[in-house]
Amino acid sequence: MAINNIWVFAQAADDAPTTFTLELLAKARTLGGTVSAFVGGDASALAAALGDHGASKVYATGALGGALPGVAVAGAMKAIIDGGDVPDLIMFPQTYEGRDVMSRLSVKLDRTVITNNVDLVVEGDQITVTTPVFGGNTLVSTTFNGGVPFIASFRPKSFSAEAVGGAAASIVGAPVPDLGATGGATVHATHVEETTGPKLDEANIVVSGGRGLGEAAKYELIEQLAKLLKGAPGASRAIVDAGWVPYSYQVGQTGKVVKPSIYIAAGISGATQHMVGMKGAKNIIAINKDKEAPIFGIADLGIVGDVHKVLPKLIEALQARS
């Protein structure tokens, strides 16, 4: 056998598949088998775009009625598998919902999951995935024991999304079975934390601040600089945990993965957790008063200095030019 039947857990925002979903489809269709998308919700608005990116079929649960997707979608996947369509590989995005669905499914199928991958290679009927550890300095290759389905999740921006001009994917119903007690969690309201300017994970320039700013009020310097450069403001986990800025600003392992052309890290020492999320930037500028800070090990331009002195002067100089 080979890896012939591949599923991708597809997520949508504003009636379109997320870029992350399209990245996984792009990789899936290079593996040589048929590619199906699996949607938690209604797929009628998504079938054309999913087909355009290589999915020939889309399983859709239909409206989830406020149920959290994790347990519901995993239940629907299990039902399809029990019905006889057994995928060789199920690819998940490393997102909140992706994590929940694959974890529940892992137990339902008694199969392991390998998370946080950045690449995948098929050799015959075996799959090898690659996971970066220690802030990406070391790459670990792992294969699955036992039979299919293999379940793996991938980090954002591991692959490049690309349309191939396929016909709209055919929609196949995948109803959610009775979940018993496990289906008890219900969403009552959704809140979106508005940000202005470009989206953090799509911006060409990202300016991030960390604990070196000293206090929450000083984050304004980061926002000012980001605005002047038409970039997005970001943050280290330390100041998100401290409550200075919302979680949606966080760059790193547990936050957003960014690959801008320019990344400016101000008052960020460069913990492993942070570096994983930004070391793919083309150019990195770091400002930190500790010259031993790990961030200087990957910076193209490193300024050993006080962010409270350097940032205001930089902002002033840029304002004078605009």
Binding site: R99, T115, T138, A181, T182, S261, N283, I285, L301, L314
Partner: protein, 258 residues
């Protein structure tokens, strides 16, 4: 209200991690500490039990070498007791096996109204164990909880999302994973530290819990290669003499960013 918190004892995050060259697993032979991510869950559990006006907080943990130092920190914060699953056979266990072991430890404690875990550990960060445990225990779950209250026997949770947060309700018994920053973990008092020394920790093996196979034998995966990633070269590092900002302006100019 009885709450069980999953706590992981990890190598000091301040010292650089390393892989054991013979097994390709993370080296965990030094002193192990309470994963800071878990201190939020311990604090949340203590606050919920306090608000409920009765009940206790218990701990479950899995460690290869009988280590309890990290559990003692959580006991010093106010947890009442714990189960430590310690067994050399556990070395090499994957996340699914870990979830099976911890779920069995929860059952050994007689279950709970609520099980709390961090969203992921700081050393391995697989990030699947809480939700796998929920499925094994047959309970509903809310992951990435950033605010939690109990009202008329059900959880009301603010669940973090990529764009903001959702308001979620969930009946008990249930499992939640909590984000860092959800509450401010208390520092153990001197009295708490002294009391923790005599609090019961039930040390058991995977076999005692009836979980098999574990470790390498039970793992659904194997590491085939460990390689160094292409290192990113450091560039120009300069000390700020008051004019270093001009270097940044020049660099941005060169990149045509301004």
């Amino acid at each position: 209200m009885n709450v069980i918190v999953c706590v992981k004892q990890i190598p000091d995050p301040a010292s650089p991690g390393a892989l054991d060259p013979s097994t390709n697993t993370l080296k965990r032979d030094g002193k192990l500490l309470l994963d800071e991510s878990d201190s939020y869950g311990v604090e949340m559990a203590l606050q919920l039990v306090d608000a409920a006006g009765g009940g206790e907080v218990s701990l479950v943990s899995m460690a290869p070498n009988g280590e309890t130092a990290g559990m003692r920190t959580a006991l010093a914060m106010g947890a009442a007791k714990g189960v430590l699953v310690s067994d050399p056979a556990l070395l090499g266990s994957d996340a699914l096996t870990t979830a099976k072991v911890l779920a069995a430890a929860v059952k050994r404690l007689g279950g709970a109204d609520l099980v709390i875990a961090a969203t992921e550990s700081s050393d391995g960060y697989t990030g699947t164990v809480p939700e796998q445990m929920a499925e094994l225990l047959g309970v509903p779950s809310v992951t990435f909880a950033k605010k939690v209250v109990v009202e008329s026997g059900a959880l009301k949770v603010e669940r973090q999302t990529e764009a903001g947060y959702d308001e979620v309700t969930c009946p008990l018994p249930a499992l939640i994973s909590v984000t860092a920053g959800v509450v401010e973990p208390r520092y153990p008092s001197f009295k708490g530290i002294m009391a923790a020394k005599s609090k019961p920790v039930d040390t058991v093996t995977a076999g005692d819990l009836g979980v098999a196979p574990v470790g390498w034998a039970g793992a659904g995966q194997q590491i085939t290669k460990v390689a160094q990633a292409e290192a990113r070269q450091a560039g120009e590092i300069i000390e700020d003499d008051g004019e270093a900002y001009t270097k940044i302006v020049a660099f941005l100019d060169q990149l045509k960013a301004i």
